[in-house]
Subunit: 113 residues, 2 copies
């Protein structure tokens, strides 16, 4: 009976968004300050550009990040990605993960793939 109603549960939805590969890494990087595309790719570390593009688009439609094209009067226009107010509030989630990770993973290497 009553398998919990996934689609109507905000937590279930939130988990659905945050468990997408690279999403938490992206958010964490942006909590550190807004970044351009390649800059973000480097900070995230390991995400390839195709996936990153897709993730950024998705996060933008969810209004978690904001994309702005730097207006440098004719000069090289960079795309700048930053967190929206909703995105900024993910700081608490990252902090919780941070605390937990330090307490329970430490140096444990989880290779294997």
């Amino acid at each position: 009976m009553t398998t919990d109603q996934p689609s109507f549960c905000p937590v279930y939805q939130a988990i659905g968004v945050l468990q997408e590969k690279w999403v938490l890494h992206i958010v964490r990087s942006l909590l550190d300050g807004e970044k351009g595309f390649n800059e973000l790719a480097r900070a995230v570390g390991g995400c390839n550009s195709a996936t990153l593009t897709q993730r950024l688009e998705h996060l933008e439609t969810l209004d978690i990040i904001h994309k702005r094209t730097e207006d440098t009067h004719g000069k090289l226009a960079r795309s700048i990605y930053s967190l929206s107010p909703a995105g900024l509030e993910l700081q608490t989630v990252i902090d919780a993960i941070d605390t937990w990770g330090r307490a329970h993973l430490k140096f444990a290497v989880q290779k294997t793939a």
Copy 2:
């Protein structure tokens, strides 16, 4: 500069674990109480048995969950999955996600796929 050193950073590792598909759902289900395999599958909602088996094995090696085979003196022996102390502490992470989800996703349907 200073791309943060992914492999040595506990937060990076923690994110790596928690962003695996179904992991947060599994933890959330188990925070609600220990469960058998099929029971857990139903609670998680949508994860197939092959993936679930794999995830549970991984989480067990990380000492986040614990598997115990119910000792029912000869009767049908169920496998019972429960959270380890480390796993229980993920409550704070789930809570943070919960709070964030309620505040920022509400009923927003993220269709499209």
